[in-house]
């Protein structure tokens, strides 16, 4: 634990429901700047874009040596509280690290483990389970995937269709979950399911190689990381139920909301890389006898990227700070994801435009970011999903009259 990140993560002993500090402060602090610099340097060396291209097509995403290094840097348990063996860092610290993950275009099980997985256990498992799982995760000894059955990739718990049969103590699971990120890399699948006994949402842990579990690849624009997880009469033991089902839905929803903010940070980092790359290229590349960056058309593209990037970045930081303050509103998650999705899409498009033909080649790094943007923008809710969340908050449900009628019809 000699790296700057590990060192600062160790100093940062904090609980995320912390008191408010009484001075306006709106820039990254020294520790966050340090996290950024050291992560940028580490990833530039350990995960250059050649490796990002290879990792994209590798179902396991990251090799064991790199995973071990990342764990040694304290990344796996960055936001896991210290009492569970984590670094207890702030969510904004995690956001800064995820920006660098996005900047390096690192796909694979880091996000599903250190973000979605860790948060799901933190909020939806019970205390003994947290004590047994999280320290192993923080040490790098556990990879997780959330087999949340939804075609909206982790947005909406109401679409869960996996069922848990009513066999006392040890239910059996059946059903399917699509678009499960990093299922093939995971040691444990976290699988939310509806209990047939009472219709409640419960969370189960299952082994990907357990009898009745079948993984089939769903090749995407992003690569080889998504799987259909099909469950046929999968046995669970009593200890495989995580947490109390009265708390599962709220806990998972909280994990998904925070994961959405984390995904925003990853997108901001990817967008920053696209802008950096385009600006560097525009300074050097000459056409018509001068650097293309001296042409106003190119300059304006770059400035449009910067405008989008700054807005996306600061709304993401606001959401991360709200998590640290214990006051994350669902509407802020929605706003952040809408802005990041739209900003990243426009930034990648303009990046391609500035880079010209070279950016269209797979050997260039631009395709990595195009692919990342396409996958990230559907993860944890797309623009339309979140617009509807916001609209419902502002204007009420889109069709309450129909719903009431339907309910009356169902009752009669």
């Amino acid at each position: 634990m000699s790296s700057p990140i590990a060192a600062c993560a160790c100093r940062a002993i904090r609980d995320r429901s912390s008191q408010r500090v009484d001075v306006m402060y709106l820039q990254l602090d020294e520790e966050q700047t340090l996290i950024r610099q050291s992560a940028r340097e580490f990833l530039a060396q350990a995960f250059p874009s050649e490796r990002a291209r290879a990792a994209r097509l590798d179902p396991r995403g990251i090799d064991d040596a790199l995973w071990r290094q990342m764990a040694d840097l304290g990344w796996m348990g960055l936001v896991v509280p210290e009492r569970y063996g984590g670094a207890g860092a702030s969510f904004l610290d995690l956001a800064v690290l995820l920006e660098e993950i996005g900047h390096a275009s690192m796909t694979g099980p880091f996000f599903s483990t250190a973000v979605t997985g860790a948060l799901s256990i933190l909020y939806a498992a019970d205390e003994p389970q947290r004590r047994s799982l999280l320290p192993v995760l923080a040490r790098g000894g556990l990879k997780l995937a959330l087999a949340l059955d939804t075609q909206r990739a982790g947005f909406d718990l109401s679409t869960v269709s996996v069922r848990a049969t009513n066999s006392a103590g040890a239910p059996r699971l059946y059903g399917a979950a699509l678009f499960v990120a990093d299922a093939a890399a995971a040691d444990i699948l976290l699988c939310p399911a509806i209990r047939e006994a009472d219709g409640a949402l419960a969370l189960y842990r299952i082994a990907p190689d357990a009898s009745g579990v079948s993984l089939s690849a769903m090749p995407t624009i992003g690569g080889a990381h998504h799987y259909a997880v099909e469950l046929t009469n999968v046995e669970t033991a009593a200890a495989d139920t995580l947490g109390q089902s009265t708390e599962t839905a709220d806990g998972l929803q909280r994990a998904l909301s925070e994961a959405a903010v984390a995904k925003c940070a990853e997108m901001v980092g990817g967008a920053q890389r696209v802008l950096d790359t385009a600006v560097a290229y525009a300074r050097e590349r000459e056409q018509f006898g001068r650097p293309i960056g001296s042409f106003q058309a190119i300059q304006h593209h770059c400035v449009n990227m910067l405008m989008d990037l700054e807005c996306a970045r600061w709304i993401t930081y606001k959401a991360a700070a709200a998590i640290d303050r214990g006051a994350l509103e669902p509407s802020l998650v929605a706003k952040a994801k809408i802005c990041c999705n739209e900003a990243y899409r426009r930034i990648v498009r303009l990046g391609h435009q500035v880079m010209g033909g070279i950016g269209y080649c797979e050997e260039h790094e631009m395709p990595l970011y195009f692919r990342h943007a396409r996958m990230a923008e559907t993860a944890f809710g797309d623009v339309d999903d979140h617009l509807e969340v916001l609209a419902t908050q502002l204007l009420g449900d889109k069709s309450p009259a129909v719903t009431e009628q339907a309910m009356k019809g169902a009752a009669s």
Binding site: Q296, Q299, K335, L394
Partner: protein, 399 residues
């Protein structure tokens, strides 16, 4: 949170002093800012007698001259309070009087003016007694300000000034003209401009109205052998262009008005909750719902970045192009808002104030007209993008 770490705070007022200032200002505005005064700016852009009186009370209550030295009528306080002042007016969709004197003329006089000039003008600005109008733009010098042709020729103790300004928006009610004119014909054009404080009613000045799409009156101002005493030259001769642009990022930030949209968006949302479109609730209209939600998201993001830029300003950090980016984002956002509102409101959105059918008192229609200038005035979006490209992104200049 461990000791020494701070959570990001997006509230403008954060210290006890700043919160007390904000409360005091808010109480003052609840009491003194009448609807009539609030609307003088968008309706006519003149300060009538009520507006003048309001400005004096604002000064008397100690809200002008924030951070200026006491000997020049200043009231102490921090730049954070200056920010709170301008944001609180914007939040109420009100016109904060005398921005030229408060943000441009006053600070430049403070930095570069003679002792005599400081004593003559700063206390009266801080007391809310005098209004300045901006005199930069000319027919041949819009975005390219250094191309200005107005000439100021030395004649003994005086300068004789001739030429024409245009789009000088406050001249018909301002007391003084914050005037840029050419004082050297041989030097490179940026090093040949000087700033003057000219009595706006001096003999030889003709002010002709120009009426705009947004409903604001602006002016063409003609100088015909106008005699200005050398004591009204600001700082050194031929340094005026540098005085004009030295604090431009600061000015762009202080003029940011994004929070104005908060009130507008709340009113639009309230309207949508009860209004019908073609007999069905507008609140259920899918496209209208999406437009409204996107407006919320985009406003929040713009305000978040603006808050960061304001933080840099109040902490005295280096600002390379953040003020310009805030201006670009905000001006284009307000235009989009106007069109989104028009689209949500349909035919009724086109109704002007005065029609009994006009939603939001015709604000969407007015806003769509008035925001046309926002991406033009104070630097066109195109010129500002050039500025950000070479100052913020270090791209090579267009030769």
């Amino acid at each position: 949170m461990s000791p020494g770490r701070r959570i990001l705070d997006f509230e403008l007022a954060s210290t006890p002093e700043e919160r007390a200032f904000q409360r005091r200002l808010s109480d003052f505005l609840d009491r003194e800012l009448t609807e009539e005064v609030r609307r003088q700016h968008p309706l006519d852009l003149g300060l009538g007698p009520e507006g003048r009186e309001f400005m004096r009370r604002l000064g008397a209550a100690g809200f002008l001259g924030i951070g200026w030295p006491e000997q020049y009528g200043g009231v102490g306080g921090s730049i954070a309070m200056e920010i709170i002042l301008s944001q609180e007016f914007a939040r109420r969709e009100a016109y904060l009087p005398n921005s030229v004197a408060r943000l441009m003329a006053g600070p430049v006089i403070l930095r570069h003016g003679s002792e005599r000039m400081k004593c003559e003008f700063l206390p009266r600005i801080a007391a809310g007694e005098v209004e300045f109008g901006l005199g930069y733009t000319e027919p041949p010098a819009g975005s390219d300000l250094a191309a200005m042709q107005m000439r100021a020729v030395r004649d003994g103790e005086y300068y004789i000034i001739n030429g024409q300004k245009v789009f000088n928006t406050q001249s018909h009610f301002a007391d003084y003209h914050w005037l840029a004119a050419r004082t050297d014909v041989d030097a490179p054009r940026h090093r040949a401009i000087s700033l003057f404080v000219v009595d706006q009613r001096a003999p030889g000045i003709t002010i002709n109205p120009i009426h705009t799409l947004g409903g604001e009156r602006t002016n063409a101002v003609f100088y015909d052998d106008v005699k200005v005493h050398e004591s009204r030259l600001v700082g050194e001769p031929n340094r005026g262009f540098y005085y004009m642009i030295e604090a431009i990022e600061h000015e762009r930030l202080m003029l940011s008005q994004n929070i104005r949209l908060r009130n507008f968006l709340d009113r639009l949302t309230n309207y949508m909750r009860t209004a019908l479109r073609d007999g069905a609730p507008l609140a259920k209209h899918p496209a209208a719902r999406q437009r409204l939600a996107r407006m919320e998201a985009e406003l929040e993001a713009a305000l978040c970045f603006e808050a960061h830029a304001l933080f840099l300003l109040r902490e005295g950090k280096t600002i390379e192009s953040e003020g310009t980016v805030v201006k670009l984002v905000g001006s284009e956002l307000r235009q989009r808002f106007a069109y989104d509102a028009l689209d949500i409101l349909g035919a009724f959105g086109r109704l002007e104030e005065g029609s009994k059918w006009a939603p939001l008192m015709g604000e969407a229609a007015r806003m769509s007209r008035a925001t046309v200038i926002e991406t033009i005035g104070g630097g066109t979006s195109e010129v500002l993008r050039n500025v950000v490209a070479y100052r913020g992104l270090r791209l090579p200049r267009d030769p």
